[in-house]
Every structure is written in C-alpha cells, then in structure tokens.
C-alpha cells in the first residue's frame, strides 16, 4: 500500500521541481480577480470618516448633511466612540452609489473633538515610566569586568508599515439571511469571526468567505478589522452589496505598523574574539500597546552572560500588526550591528568573528556551511577589508554579514481529495495563496502522489466552505497544506489500489502509482491505466480527507521547524552625497524539503528586495507636534524600485541533512537579515556606524560628520 511519507529524491516526479506558478497566466493577464476587483450588481461604495487628531475626546458625530447628499444610501457611526487614540482612527462611514459621492459625503460628516495631550515620539527611552521588564542570566557585571574588549553603542529601527498594494477591506453582500464576503485576507478559514458575525447579525455558519487572489498581507490581514465589520454593517443596513477598501493614506497609517526597536547595547569579548557578555536595553513602540521587539540577543542567544531590559513606549500611532517574521528583523539588526562593531573594535574580520562565535547559536554547523557558501558566492576573500575603505575618492565599498533563524512548522490543515470514476481529481483546502505559490504546491503534491501530470489535478482554495486550514502567518502554510494534501491524496490512492488489486491479481500493499498508471511494485509491467483503475470505483466519486496537525506532522517527519540563513551584502557609499548603492547581495537559506524550487527562490528574492527596502528607504515619519504621519503616500514612503536592487544571488540548501527534515516554511526567514547585512556593509565601507535604519543620505552624512570623517 502506498505510504504517505515523503518520497525519496529519485521517486519525486513533481515535488521539488522548479514548476511555473499555476495561476501565473491569470495574474499576468489581469484576469485574476482580487477582492478589490469584485463588482456586484447594485453595489454601494463605502468610505470612512477618520480622526484628524492623535488623541481627543469625541463629543459628537453629526452625519445629517452627508445623509442629505444625493446618492448616499447608508451611514455608520461608532456610537461607542468616546475617545480616539491616533490619527486615522475610524469614527464613521458612509455608503453611496459611486465612489466619488462617498468621498464627498465623508467631507460632510461633522465630528466634534476635544483634543487631548498626545505622544508619538518613540526613540527616547525616558518616555517610559515605571519598572522595566528585566532579565539577567549568568554574571554580567563580572563578565564585563573580565572582558578584554568592551563595545557600547546605540542602534535603532523605526516603525515601518506593511504598505500592501491591495489595501485592507472587503465586499460584503447579504442575501436570503446569508452573508457573502470577498475580503483581502491571509486567513480564509478563520476570517468569519464573531465580530464580523455580530456586525451583520448573521450567524458565523452563514458567512461565506471567498478570497481567490489577494494583493499582499505580510502579516497584517488575518482579521476582518473595522473596515470589515463596517462594510458588513452597511450591507445589512442598506440591503445592498457594499465595497469598502481603504484609501492609500489610511492603508499606511492604520492598517499595520511594524513596531520600532531601539537599543543601547554593550558587548564584552576576549581579545581573540569570543563574546562573553551582552547587555541590552531595548525600547520602542507598537502604538498604544507599546511592546517593542525583545528577542535580545538575537541568534547568538547562548552568550553566557546576558542582561536584557525592555521598555514599552506607548504612542498615539496606528496599531501594530505582525510584519513578516515579527520581532526578528529589528532584533537581528540591533544585535548583529553591535556584534559587527565589536569585531571592528577588535580589528577582526567580520566573517572570522561570526564564525568563531557560532557555538553561541542553535545551529552552528548549518551556519558554518552557509557562511562558507555565501562568502564564496560574493567573493568575500577578494573583496574584504578592515572597517573603512581606504580607496581614494568619494566612493567607498564594503561587505556586511548577517545570520538569522525562524520556526516555520506547518500549521493544522485539512484537505479533501476527490477522485471521480472518469479519473479526474480535485483537491480542496480552505487555505489561501498570498502569492507564495500555495495553489501550485498543492497541485504538485497531489499529482506527484497519484503519479499523474500536473494538469490532471484541479485545486480549489480560498473559500471557508472547504476543509479548514490555518492562516498564512509565520511561514506555516507550506508545511501544513503539503502534508494535508499528501495525506488525502495517499488515502485516495489507496482506495483506488484496493479497487483494482484483485483485477491485477495482487494486493493493494503491492501496488504503486506512477506514470499515469497503477502498477505492481515488483512487476511494473502488471499495470492498469489511472483512468481504467478509477472506473473500477463504480458510479460514485470517492473523497478522502487528509488531516495534518502540528504535533503529528512534526513527529512523523512531514514538517519541521527551525531554519538558519545567512546573508552578505556588498555596497558602495558615496560619502559626498550619502547615497548607498547595493552592488550585490547573497542569501543562503535552508527550509527543509523544498516542494517547488522556483517559487521558493522567488520568495527569497522577494524577501531580499523587501529587506533592501526597509534597510535603505522605509520609515513612517511622525510629526511630534500634530501627531500625524507625514509620509502616508507612496512618494515619500518609498519602496525600492527595479533600479535599486543590484545583483541578487540565492542559494537554497538541499540534499542530505536538509531534504530529510520535512517541509518547512520560507516566507519569513530571508526577510530578517537584510537590515543587518546592509547596515554592516555600510559601516565596513565608510568606517563609521550609521546607528539607525533606514540608511538614508542624511543619516550617512550625519554619522560621518559626528565621527569627524568629514566636515
């Protein structure tokens, strides 16, 4: 009987192959319908009314003028709104027959505010009052006393936003007591929550979620949010479908912030470069909840003597949402920058220094192998120099290194595979494809398992009526859906084998699927075509369910967690203008058994580019006086363009020691290191540390001036 366990390399026909994205043509031709693209008959457009104040008491909301505007069909007010805590907080909404009328109606809503004191600054630890969270390990003070070299420095990563190209929101429609929603979400099975149900007065079991394509989430699109509940409430109120997607400025202000992280760090080391002590005070903001990223020290977490102090800075800013690899990119930058500066203080090569301290990480052997490969790919030994490029002229070149880690265990997931008597195959999972290739990998796994070509398998995802699957967060999707679809396809295959065993004169245990046929394992010429085999099922299709759970999936080797990756950046910096140019960037990464090499590499390239963007350009700039975000647009909240990325090289670790770990997610890990690698490369180039990201020209020039390198 065919087994569910992952096949050995020589038996894989589709698993592991660089196969084109299944929905590539739909996306490239604009026929893919995103939630924003859903236009329903008789649909209304909703727009929201938001607070212009960072902190105020709401004294009253008057929508009467808006209601009188021709074309306005519905109005929603936050009846409970007593106080607003950030600019952009939603207090009311209108629904109208056109988008233009809805926009105009918003300007007619009068809200009375009594402004209160506000606070949006997050870079000053003195803003924290109270007892900070403290953790001590080993004997920190004694270790610093004994250290041959001590380095102290301040580092920072500001708040950035998700800037999903498709904004947050949904289309909602209520028909015959049931609600149909088309949200932009990364959580199809779990989207219809109690909040959405209560907003529309429709029970959770009568909410139909459909999200076939979504334009970016990066951790910020799990729940309906206020935009979801308001559109549902307006659909109920007006009896018409309502589309509510945020305008760009609100998307940047309120739909997701990545918390800032600032740190004062002290590192102690021996003169031959072994780190013995690490002390960090870390602060930052996630809006009103305050929490800064606190994984300190990062990756080198076995440093024997550690002290960590955490201070929460509450600010009147839009709320934080998980952003790809929550906490890791900030803590990686803070830790790795301080460690690279310690290497520089020791006048030691950065690669030698990091390699020497790998025993302080969870996976020393993996990192060592990866660092060697990365160094080779970037020609490290030919290009390396001690901190400060001595080449004459204004252009200084440098290399920087970073290492990172992530979990990535597959989430709970269920899959139904149906085989019809005509041989057609369908897989259904209530998962979603964020552009990571979820559709494609399910098709690969099911087709490979059944010995069929790719296009023999129809895949259906994106609806909550399908077997439930986890939200796509934390690099958990691939491990989840590949396991559940493998289990379901194997169960279906076994049913087909049972049906034809007698006909083939053997038992199901001695059959396998290969090349479009069911055949005898030890006598492949004894075979029956897949189509003929399925005819033996009778008149009814068979459906088999595969159920993957985190614990069982890990115990049985289908999925796993804990990956390591390293990155090296090669930059040039013009010390007259402060402009950083990325020459080259190398990523070496493991993620267990790779299901689709092409799409996996796409994820890593994408993560590098997203990382280059936050390293060089991204920052949500807030004005302390008005409390407003000053760059809630795409001119001044800059994303990297096609000209900004340099030469990128990706190397995936495969083969023995990697493939046999099971399937592990890849969405988060490679986005963690770029800030640290690029920051370290800039320091290596210009000879001084630029303490905070992003590495904008003004920060480069300021750092050079402070160090007296230029005047």
């Amino acid at each position: 009987m065919p087994k569910a366990e992952w096949p050995p390399a020589e038996k894989r026909t589709l698993i592991g192959k660089p196969i084109d994205r299944a929905d590539g043509p739909a996306k490239a031709t604009g026929t893919a319908k995103y939630s924003y693209d859903i236009n329903r008959p008789n649909m209304l457009w909703a727009k929201v009314v938001t607070s212009p104040h960072p902190h105020a008491e709401v004294a009253g909301i008057d929508t009467s003028a808006a209601e009188k505007l021709e074309g306005v069909k519905g109005v929603w007010k936050d009846e409970a709104a007593k106080e607003v805590n950030y600019v952009g907080q939603i207090v009311a909404a209108v629904a109208a027959t056109t988008e233009e009328i809805a926009t105009e109606a918003v300007s007619l809503v009068k809200v009375n505010y009594n402004p209160l004191e506000h606070q949006v600054v997050d870079s000053d630890p003195e803003l924290f009052k109270g007892d900070p969270n403290k953790r001590d390990q080993g004997n920190v003070d004694e270790a610093f006393g004994k250290a041959d070299v001590t380095h102290s420095g301040n580092y920072g990563v500001p708040v950035i936003t998700h800037c999903c190209l498709e904004p947050h929101g949904q289309v909602a429609e209520i028909r015959d007591g049931e609600m149909y929603v088309w949200p932009s979400t990364q959580n199809v099975s779990g989207y219809a929550d109690r909040g959405l149900s209560e907003a529309a007065g429709i029970p959770q079991n009568k909410i139909h979620v459909d999200c076939q394509y979504m334009g970016g989430g990066f951790g910020s699109k799990f729940n309906p949010g206020k935009w979801g509940t308001i559109s549902a409430a307006l659909a109920k109120q007006t009896g018409r479908p309502v589309k509510l997607l945020l305008d760009r400025d609100l998307e940047l202000m309120i739909a997701g912030n990545r918390p800032s992280g600032f740190s004062k760090i002290k590192v102690g080391a021996t003169k031959d470069g072994k780190v013995t002590a690490f002390e960090s005070e870390v602060w930052g903001t996630s809006g009103m909840s305050g929490n800064p990223p606190d994984l300190m020290p990062y990756v080198f977490d076995k440093i024997p003597n550690q002290r960590r102090i955490v201070k929460r800075i509450q600010t009147n800013r839009g709320p934080a949402q998980a952003w790809r690899a929550p906490r890791h990119p900030q803590n990686c930058y803070l830790t790795l920058a301080a460690l690279a500066d310690t290497a520089a203080a020791l006048k030691m090569d950065e690669l030698e220094f990091f390699t020497k301290n790998l025993d302080l990480t969870a996976r020393p052997d993996v990192y060592k192998e990866e660092l060697e490969i990365a160094a080779r790919l970037v020609n490290y030994n030919q290009k390396k120099h001690v901190r400060g490029d001595k080449t004459p002229g204004p252009i200084k070149r440098g290399l920087g290194i970073s290492v990172h880690t992530w979990g990535g265990l597959g989430h709970d997931s269920e899959c139904d595979v149906t085989v019809s008597p005509d041989g057609s195959v369908e897989a259904k999972i209530g998962t979603q494809d964020l552009g990571t290739g979820t559709r494609t990998v399910i098709q690969q796994v099911v087709a490979d398992t059944l010995g069929l070509p790719l296009d023999a398998v129809k895949v259906q995802i994106g609806k909550n009526e399908f077997p439930r699957s986890g939200g796509s967060g934390g690099s958990t999707t691939i491990g989840g859906v590949s396991t559940s679809s493998r289990l379901a396809a194997t169960a279906a295959l076994n049913a087909v084998c049972e049906a034809v065993a007698q006909k083939l004169g053997t038992t199901a245990e001695n059959l396998e699927a290969a090349g479009g046929a069911i055949r005898q394992v030890d006598k492949p010429s004894n075979r029956i075509s897949w189509k003929d085999a399925c005819a033996a099922l009778g008149v009814m299709p068979i459906t088999k369910r595969g159920t993957q759970t985190r614990n069982e999936g890990k115990a049985k080797g289908f999925t796993n967690e804990g990956v390591g990756g390293v990155q090296i950046a090669d930059v040039s910096v013009d010390i007259e203008t402060g402009v950083v140019t990325l020459n080259e960037m190398v990523a070496v990464q493991d993620c267990g058994l790779i299901v689709n090499l092409k799409l996996t590499e796409s994820q890593v390239y994408g993560a590098l580019i997203m990382g280059i963007t936050y390293a060089l350009y991204e920052e949500a700039v807030y004005d302390p006086k008005t409390g407003r975000m000053l760059n809630a647009d795409m001119e001044f909240y800059r994303l990297a363009g096609i000209k900004d990325i340099g030469l990128l090289k990706v190397h995936m670790m495969t083969g023995k020691g990697y493939d046999d770990r099971g399937v592990i997610g890849i969405g988060e890990p490679p986005v963690i290191s770029p800030g640290a690698a690029i920051g370290n490369a800039v320091a290596n180039a210009i000879g001084v540390r630029v303490p905070s990201l992003p590495l904008t020209p003004d920060r480069i020039i300021t750092a050079l001036q402070k160090e007296g390198s230029i005047v």
């Binding site: 590539g24 760009r248 390239y605």
Partner: protein, 203 residues
C-alpha cells in the same frame, strides 16, 4: 474632442478637469474659470455626462461625472479591473494603461480626457490562452508573486518592449522605473523583460 499628441494633460484638459471638481475651490475663482472654459466651448459637467471610450478596440458608452478618473471609469463603470488602484496619485504605476501607444497612469487622467483616444488595458493585451510575449516571459521567469502590481508592469513592459525591441538590462531597469512592486519580484522581471525583448519566451 480632437486627438491630442503626446500623453497626459493639456492645459485645456487640466482646466476642464479641476474646474468641476471640488479641489478647485479656493484656488481659482469659479466664475473666472467657467468663462475661461466657456470661451473654449465643449464644457463637461457638472453632473454626469455621456462619453464614449475606445477601449481595447471597442466603443464603450458610459456616463461619468467629469471628476472621474480614467482608472475609476475603467474599474467601476466598465468592470475592467485589470488596472489596479494603489497609490491613486501617479507614483506606483499599478494603474498603467496604454493611451495612443504610450503608457499612461490612468489614475492621473480624467475619463473625459480619454475620449477620442485609443485606450488599451491589460485585458486587451492578452488572455491566459493567448498571452503576449511579455506575459509569457512573466510566467516563465516568475516575475510575480501576489500579482497585484503585475498588470501595471506587464502593460508598461509591453509598451516598453515595443519601443525598445533590443533592450539591455540597464535599459529595462530605467524603462520600468515608473512602477513599484511590494513583494519584490524585480529579479524575475528584469529577466522576463529582456527575454520578451528578444522574443525569447515563445516556447
């Protein structure tokens, strides 16, 4: 309305555009503006006005207020949702369409301005069964992830490849500098557009 050379705004088009939207309030005296337009004739609005757009080779009749952008007319009135609304102010290129042979940000052109011009959207460039060379190359080199920016990039790249049939990597980087992607698909995109320029993705 006569066919105008080049792309984007003419002074006359601009005045007509702002004249009947609320943003003009306070900037220009409405009375003065009205007379300036009246002198040129051909006044549109206020209120909905019938127009005919030439989109993907079809004449499409629709009613729009003069303040409606070409992007919103395409997406909200004609259900041509390939062009995407992202920044809505001429920065990101997700709304790119081809007007009289040139790539244009459809969020920054009014629908009434597009009358009498040939508009091609992503829907008019190719279908999943009959993709053009750029679309085939985007699939082959996986120059897309979430895909939300893809129609704008494909449209811009299609116009670029027609104008630069032997483009180098450096020319591609410069030529597609007017579009933005958040997932980070530029690596595949450079390969795709160079490949498409060579006609190399026919396989």
């Amino acid at each position: 309305m006569s066919k105008q050379p080049g792309s984007g705004f003419s002074r006359r088009g601009f005045l007509k555009g702002v004249g009947i939207t609320s943003v003009a309030g306070g900037l220009i005296s409405p009375a003065g503006l009205t007379s300036a337009i009246a002198a040129e004739g051909d006044v549109k609005g206020p209120g909905e006005t019938p127009i005919t757009l030439d989109v993907n080779g079809q004449k499409r009749k629709l009613n729009v207020e003069p303040r409606v952008t070409l992007l919103d007319a395409l997406r909200n009135r004609l259900d041509l949702t390939g062009p995407k609304k992202v920044c809505d102010r001429g920065t990101c290129g997700a709304c790119t369409v081809i007007v009289d042979g040139k790539p244009v940000y459809s969020c920054s052109m009014l629908a009434v301005e597009a009358e009498g011009r040939e508009v091609t959207t992503i829907e008019g460039i190719g279908t999943p069964q009959r993709m053009n060379e750029v679309q085939r190359a985007f699939v082959k080199h996986d120059a897309q992830q979430c895909g939300f920016c893809t129609p704008g990039f494909v449209t811009a790249a299609t116009a670029f490849v027609r104008a630069n049939p032997k483009a180098s990597i450096e020319q591609v980087r410069a030529g597609l500098g007017g579009n933005l992607c958040r997932c980070g698909t530029y690596a595949g995109m450079i390969l795709a557009v160079v490949d498409a320029a060579k006609g190399g993705s026919n396989a």
